[in-house]
Subunit: 253 residues, 2 copies
């Protein structure tokens, strides 16, 4: 349970230089130093290094990390929970970047244009995240405070609003579909309302809408079992077919 620099470094995936640097800046001191001057680390230091790496992974600078885990009121459990939230947030940000890649790919393959604004969606979200971290630096004693979350929401502002709109659109489509399948006519008023909801939903992803493309996607919903399974699962058997028929009628006008 005691390690030299290289042993601990190999264990944690960091270099010896890094550990020496952490010693130098008083972030992680060895448990004791051998007669020959070797740094020796014990279980307490291992735990501390783990915590350091948790924060480092989130992009927190080393000075702040030290202040955080040396703070008298530092609650490991609370910090871990907060960590989990941030990791989840980063996952969501990755999804945004993936969306960007996919939209760019679609534009490339479809030969369609892409708006300059769309090109950078997902990148800007990263700024929001960084802002949050800076704010977190100033208000570190108030972690988990309601005020913190509120200002967070403010900073996110537009995009979160849009995101919420997108989510509510998805939900409305699924719910309306579930209610309509087997009762309403896809070409009727309710079917057309759903098709229009779906158009608005699509417009979140496409730089420009066309009926042909809309129809193409609708056909795909019944042709590709992955999508069929999704809609049928979410809104009941026959939902994918209903949506396709509704969009087909919608696209004919």
């Amino acid at each position: 349970m005691e390690y030299t620099v290289k042993q601990l470094g190999d264990l944690a995936g960091v270099s010896g230089r890094t550990l020496r640097y952490y010693d130098q800046i008083d972030l992680l001191k060895p448990a004791w130093v051998s007669a020959a001057g070797y740094r020796m680390y014990g279980p307490k230091e291992v735990k501390r290094l783990q915590q350091i790496l948790f924060f480092r992974e989130l992009g927190v600078d080393l000075e702040t990390i030290r202040e955080l885990i040396d703070a008298p009121g530092f609650d490991e459990k609370q910090a871990l929970l907060r960590h989990r939230e941030r990791l989840l947030e980063r996952k969501r940000q990755l999804d945004l970047l993936l969306e960007n890649v996919e939209r760019t790919l679609a534009a490339l393959e479809g030969g369609t244009a892409m708006s300059d604004k769309d090109r950078f969606m997902g990148f800007k979200e990263k700024l929001v995240r960084e802002n949050e971290e800076k704010y977190g630096q100033e208000a570190r004693e108030r972690w988990g405070d309601a005020a913190f979350d509120a200002s967070n929401a403010k900073v996110l502002g537009l995009t979160e609003e849009k995101y919420a709109e997108l989510e509510s659109l998805s939900r409305e489509i699924i719910e309306s579909l579930a209610a309509a399948v087997g009762k309403e006519d896809p070409a009727g008023a309710e079917g057309q309302r759903i098709a229009d909801l779906h158009r608005r939903w699509l417009c979140f992803f496409w730089p420009e809408y066309s009926k042909e493309a809309h129809l193409g996607v609708a056909e795909m919903y019944v042709a590709d079992e992955r999508f069929t399974a999704y809609y049928d699962n979410q809104a009941g058997q026959g939902a994918a077919q209903f949506l396709r028929d509704a969009i087909a009628a919608y696209a004919k006008n």
Copy 2:
């Protein structure tokens, strides 16, 4: 469609300094310079900046980025596909970090000890790789999600011609399956033909084929009831199992 430093910077979420630096190191030159010495950027530069940011997001250093996108054989589509793979990989790595947080939390609450090795799982890429070799649930999530995301991206940009080919492939798989179940041997000639059809079908959605991934998807077909239900519905009871066995034999060669 022409921007000054600040305008482009605001659009892309980078600072003016950054754009000036990119000019300085010949990574992103303005389209032209105004009489007063102002840098002016056009649509080509916007596209290039987007590509730069894609790579930067993955942690590629600027020198390498320049070499990459200036390389004569640079294929934007290929780069985007690889890019998407990297992002998905990062998402999976985030899952590992989340696992680590969860395990640490569990150990904390349960009052149980945690091995030093476990403490650093997720931080080390090598360990990540080792762990990802495991199959089962983990593989299902991994390949299942990848397939879904990919199909999302690709199908949206599919040409009519390609789309028709995809549809006919799907149909042939279902029909052949329906005829083969209970009569043919999954490991026999017909089973292998079907497995190969399925491989071709998969290649519509995946940037690169691998036997492991193919097998992972096959396992998913019997493990996930949604897919089982789909195949059994379309091609008769036992179709999903037949397809899985056929692919298992196919992947062993």
